[in-house]
Symmetry: C2
Subunit: 190 residues, 2 copies
C-alpha cells in the first residue's frame, strides 16, 4: 500500500517536536449516549502496520469504550507546540478487545510495547468509580507478554484530516478527504 | 458570588505553566449535525466577570458556530504539560453575537482585549472555504473598539469538571458536579 499523503506531515511534526514527550498526547472527542460530546487526552502509539490507522489503548471498563460501542465516530485534535501546527483527524473508531479474532496479534503487540508502569494501570480498580483503597493501586505486576482481559487496542481509521499551520503569513490550511479509496487534498482558508 | 471549588485549581495550573504560551490552548469537542464529534484547539480568554463561565472567541462563519447552534453542548480538554494535569470541563455553550442584547458589553470587551493580529483574522475570507486570493488576507486593520459583525464571544457554562493529576502515585482524580446551585466533589479512581 502507499501511505496517505498526510502521513509524511505527521512524521515530520513528530520529528520536529521530539523534544516534547507530550507531543505524542492527543485529544480524542467522542459522543456520549445522551448525545453530548466527551473529550480526553490519550497517547498516540504509532500506526497499525500496513495501514493509516492510528493506534491507542484503552480499558474496557472506561467510559470511552462504552461510548465508542454506542457511536463509533471520533475526532482527534493533535497540536504540536514547537511547530505550531494542528491536525484534526476524523474517522471511525474500532475497539480490539480480547474477543477480537482478526487483530489479536496487534493487541498483544501493543501490550508488549508499553512500559510496565503503563501496563500495571490496567490492573488498578475500575476507572471513574468511587476511589478504592490505596492497596488496590499496588497490584501484582502483570505479565509482560499476555494482556490483561480489560486491555483493548483502540484504532482510529481516518476519513478526513484538517491540517492547520499557524506559522504561515497568512496561515496555511489543507483538508484531506478519503473517498472511494483515494485521498484528495484541498487548500482552504484558515 | 463564590467561585466554584475547581477555580483555584485552574488558577494554580495557569500560574505553574505560565512559561508555556500554549498552556492557554484547550481542545473543544462539539457534535456535528450528523451526530459525529468535532474537536479543535481554541484559546482560553479568562472567565466572564462574576461567573465561572469560560471565555473564548469564534467567527460566526466557522463550522463550530453552526454546530453549537444545533447542539449547544461542549467539552473542553485542557492538558497542562509542566504539572502533568488534565481538566475535562463539560457544559453548555453560548454564542454571544452582534444581536445579543444582554452580553454586548462583554463581547466588545473581548474584542478589545485581543491583539491586533488576532482581530484582523476576523476580516479574512470565510474559514474553511476554498483558498482565497492572497490579498484577501491583507484587509484594512479593523477598529480596535468596535467588533466586526462576524466576531462572537463564546462562553462555556460548566456543569461537570474532571481533574486528573498524573503526578500522584497513584494518580489523583476528582470529579466536580454542579447540581441545584451547588458544586459537589468526589474522589474517583484514575
Amino acid at each position: 500500500m502507499s501511505l496517505a499523503p498526510w502521513r509524511s506531515l505527521i512524521a515530520r511534526a513528530l520529528h520536529r517536536n521530539r523534544s516534547l514527550p507530550y507531543a505524542r498526547y492527543v485529544q480524542l472527542a467522542t459522543v456520549r449516549p445522551d448525545g453530548k460530546p466527551a473529550n480526553r487526552t490519550i497517547v498516540f502509539r504509532g500506526f497499525l502496520e500496513e495501514t493509516d490507522h492510528l493506534k491507542f489503548v484503552t480499558d474496557d471498563r472506561s467510559e470511552k469504550t462504552q461510548q465508542i460501542a454506542d457511536c463509533p465516530w471520533g475526532e482527534v485534535c493533535w497540536y504540536f507546540p514547537n511547530t505550531r501546527e494542528q491536525f484534526r483527524i476524523a474517522g471511525k473508531l474500532k475497539i480490539v478487545d480480547r474477543a477480537d479474532e482478526t487483530l489479536q496479534k496487534a493487541r498483544q503487540q501493543a501490550w508488549q510495547d508499553m512500559s510496565e508502569a503503563a501496563r500495571v494501570q490496567f490492573a488498578w480498580a475500575s476507572p471513574g468509580q468511587a476511589r478504592a483503597d490505596l492497596e488496590t493501586f499496588s497490584p501484582p505486576i502483570p505479565s509482560q507478554s499476555d494482556p490483561l482481559p480489560q486491555f483493548c487496542l483502540l484504532l482510529l481509521e481516518p476519513i478526513a484530516v484538517d491540517h492547520l499551520e499557524l506559522r504561515g503569513d497568512p496561515q496555511n490550511r489543507h483538508q484531506y478527504h478519503f473517498n472511494q479509496g483515494t485521498w484528495r487534498v484541498e487548500s482552504v482558508n484558515p
